[in-house]
């Protein structure tokens, strides 16, 4: 049996279950406790679990994320909220030098079982400094793991996998998905964990593969419907879910099936997740491609504020449809 939950509720349920499962799991971040979270992901958890397990921090991301990393070396499993993933910029050293390198530099003596989570997206009218899209940025650092769930079930399954993972995992959520609903298996039916590194074929198709992650998956699915209905083009939609580890096999499989690829990626076009996926496809499925791999990324500028236009800067169903139609 499954229930309909919002993405936010699904995340919260995942956090709650892991808090129950392991006394060393501790949630920390700005406004996560008494205020119930800026985006209410942690709502009710402080009431239920109290001061020790749910910790409000000052606005000191370098300080508290570094603290979480230090504690994790002793066996604590901190799950740290960045109110926006964009605030990675003030804790970058902790995120890429401490978390990503401490195991390596110690020859495997130190472990760093942390999770950092929060919304990592544009489209909410908050301007450039609050709208960075850092999946590709962090996936570039060996030692780190990155995932970006698109649905409530994936959000729950992946946050639980992230917490149990013994390496640092950065979970990129999306403010514009928090209110989305979807089926999530009932806890009574067993522990629901989605392993990192497993893509999910969200729609089967024969003509073109749309490969995406995060909110772009939702856009890709919408575009696929339009393309089917209005143009008779049957798109397959592959949701990467996890960026590192990456399900390269699933990527190659859909490419071999359709021979045409559009990557949908909210990143800015220089780099991002999609440039890497393109690199992998052309390397490993060169002869399966009937046409160049195409991309729909954010338009290449810092994020614009204007609510009238910001959704045009991001991937959206119309832009995906237009891009697919250029194959014709």
């Amino acid at each position: 049996m499954s229930r309909i939950l919002t993405y936010r509720e699904a995340l919260r349920e995942g956090l709650d279950e892991e808090l129950a499962r392991d006394p060393n799991v501790v949630i920390m971040g700005e406004e996560v406790a008494q205020y119930n979270g800026a985006y209410k992901v942690t709502e009710g958890l402080w009431n239920k679990w109290g001061d020790k397990r749910i910790v409000d921090t000052p606005i000191s991301e370098a300080g508290f994320i570094g603290m979480g990393i230090g504690a994790s070396m002793l066996g604590i499993r901190p799950v740290m909220e960045l109110m926006f993933w964009s605030f990675h910029s003030v804790a970058f050293d902790q995120l890429v030098s401490n978390a990503a390198c401490v195991r390596y530099m110690s020859g495997g003596l130190c472990n760093c079982p942390i999770v950092v989570r929060g919304p990592a997206n544009g489209g909410t009218g908050v301007g450039a400094t609050h709208s960075h899209i850092p999946e590709g940025l962090f996936a570039a650092f060996p030692g780190l793991k990155v995932c970006a769930p698109a649905t409530p079930a994936d959000a729950k399954g992946l946050i639980k996998a992230a917490i149990r993972d013994n390496d640092p995992v950065y979970v990129m959520e999306n403010t514009l998905l928090y209110g989305n609903t979807g089926e999530v298996p009932d806890p009574a039916d067993g522990d629901f964990v989605i392993p990192l590194g497993l893509a999910d074929l969200k729609r089967e198709g024969a003509d073109v593969s749309l490969i995406a992650h995060g909110r772009s998956v939702i856009h890709a699915l919408a575009a696929a419907e339009t393309l089917q209905a209005e143009h008779g083009i049957n798109c397959e939609v592959l949701d990467l879910r996890s960026i590192r580890p990456l399900d390269v096999d699933a990527i190659l499989k859909t490419v071999k099936k359709t021979n045409r690829v559009v990557l949908v990626d909210e990143s800015k076009p220089f780099g991002g997740v999609s440039a890497m996926v393109a690199m992998l496809i052309q390397e490993h499925a060169f002869d399966d491609l009937d046409a160049p791999i195409k991309r729909v990324c954010s338009i290449d500028a810092p994020a614009i504020y204007s609510p009238h236009i910001e959704h045009e800067q991001l991937p959206n169903p119309r832009r995906i449809v237009d891009k697919v139609l250029t194959f014709a």
């Binding site: 000052p58 606005i59 609050h130 009238h308 236009i309 045009e312």
Partner: protein
């Protein structure tokens, strides 16, 4: 909130306030009223769905921006965080371009690219409007460094919140400011809360927040932010220290915000703050009411004039909303401008190699 550190001297009598003409006093009063009316109008249209993102209201804090910025000369510069509407109007920005910015219109001060948190007017020595907490503090240091470098007798007022003092970049800035003798005045607008977190829950300190300055051998002071005369009198000393001696100061101005952290903050009344606390401030410490009483006692202001000022401000704000509403929206092409100076100016450098990577 009034601080224990703050005393009750006769700030009206200080030379910098004595020098104010009645006209100028009315102007300062009007500025505070204009800020409040601008923001009330913003709130109305924000709730009406005209704006995106966040709206951080300044209402309750008006005497800080108006009092401090009123002291600025040609070579004094200003920079603040995301709660920037008060400062923007106080430096002389028009309600039109500010409102249009929030509406995300081409006519906005930042062409609709920055939004509420990112107002800019370099022609008025106003350098934003910055969204990353504490991020403006090294920039303010740099503006002041630039002034000294250029040999100008001016200073930079750099505003930050009580929560922002716990960002590392601020401390790095304080050390450099003291070490290099930089004419920067850091103004902590202490409204008691960073989002839903009280000052006590976010900061460890001795005495008061400004006292952290002692760690860097920097002068500091605490100011009652409900009293515009006190704000001016004490800030003037700091600014003179900066301009004449190239020495920084940290000021803590105790103040209060009537609304939530942003409009989305539903817990600000009855959640992390009691209704009584809010009401007490409004009744006893409202900066506009306090200044009104002072000016009426001085015979500079009358009830009638006050009403007229308020009505004019309201009309001005309504007109700004109309202006914003009727202004054109940015186009898709606009997304790609203002990224590089060289590209915007079509210089030779902009024509070599690809600067943009749109597929």
């Amino acid at each position: 909130m009034t601080s224990a550190c703050s005393s009750t001297l006769d700030f009206a009598g200080s030379p910098i306030n004595q020098a104010l003409t009645p006209e100028r006093k009315i102007e300062l009063y009007s500025q505070m009223v204009r800020i409040r009316q601008f923001e009330s109008t913003s709130l109305k249209y924000y709730q009406g769905g005209k704006m995106g993102g966040f709206l951080h209201l300044y209402i309750g804090q008006e005497a800080v921006a108006v009092g401090t910025i009123s002291l600025g000369g040609a070579d004094d510069h200003f920079i603040t965080a995301y709660r920037d509407h008060g400062h923007a109007l106080a430096v002389g920005m028009g309600m039109n371009e500010c409102m249009a910015e929030m509406y995300g219109k081409q006519t906005g001060c930042s062409k609709g690219k920055g939004g509420s948190m990112h107002f800019f007017a370099p022609d008025k020595n106003f350098w934003g409007g910055h969204g990353i907490v504490g991020g403006q503090t090294p920039l303010g240091l740099g503006l002041a460094y630039g002034l000294k470098y250029l040999g100008r007798e001016g200073c930079c007022l750099c505003y930050l919140g009580d929560g922002a003092i716990n960002q590392g970049a601020f401390h790095e800035s304080l050390n450099i400011a003291s070490l290099f003798g930089i004419p920067v005045v850091y103004v902590i607008e202490n409204n008691g809360y960073s989002m839903g977190t009280s000052q006590e829950r976010s900061s460890a300190y001795n005495g008061c927040l400004a006292q952290r300055a002692e760690a860097y051998a920097i002068e500091w002071d605490v100011i009652d932010g409900s009293n515009l005369y006190e704000v001016r009198a004490k800030t003037h000393i700091a600014m003179e220290r900066a301009r004449k001696e190239h020495k920084p100061t940290v000021l803590e101005i105790d103040t209060y915000r009537y609304y939530g952290h942003s409009v989305a903050d539903s817990k600000h009344k009855g959640g992390y703050r009691t209704p009584e606390e809010i009401e007490n401030y409004k009744q006893n410490h409202d900066p506009i009411a306090v200044f009104k009483r002072l000016l009426m006692a001085e015979g500079v202001l009358t009830d009638a004039l006050a009403d007229q000022i308020k009505a004019a401000a309201k009309t001005e704000a309504a007109a700004a909303a109309k202006f914003a509403d009727e202004s054109p929206t940015p186009t898709i092409a606009d997304i790609s401008t203002d990224v590089y100076w060289e590209s915007d100016h079509q210089t030779p450098a902009s024509k070599i190699g690809h600067h943009f990577f749109n597929d």
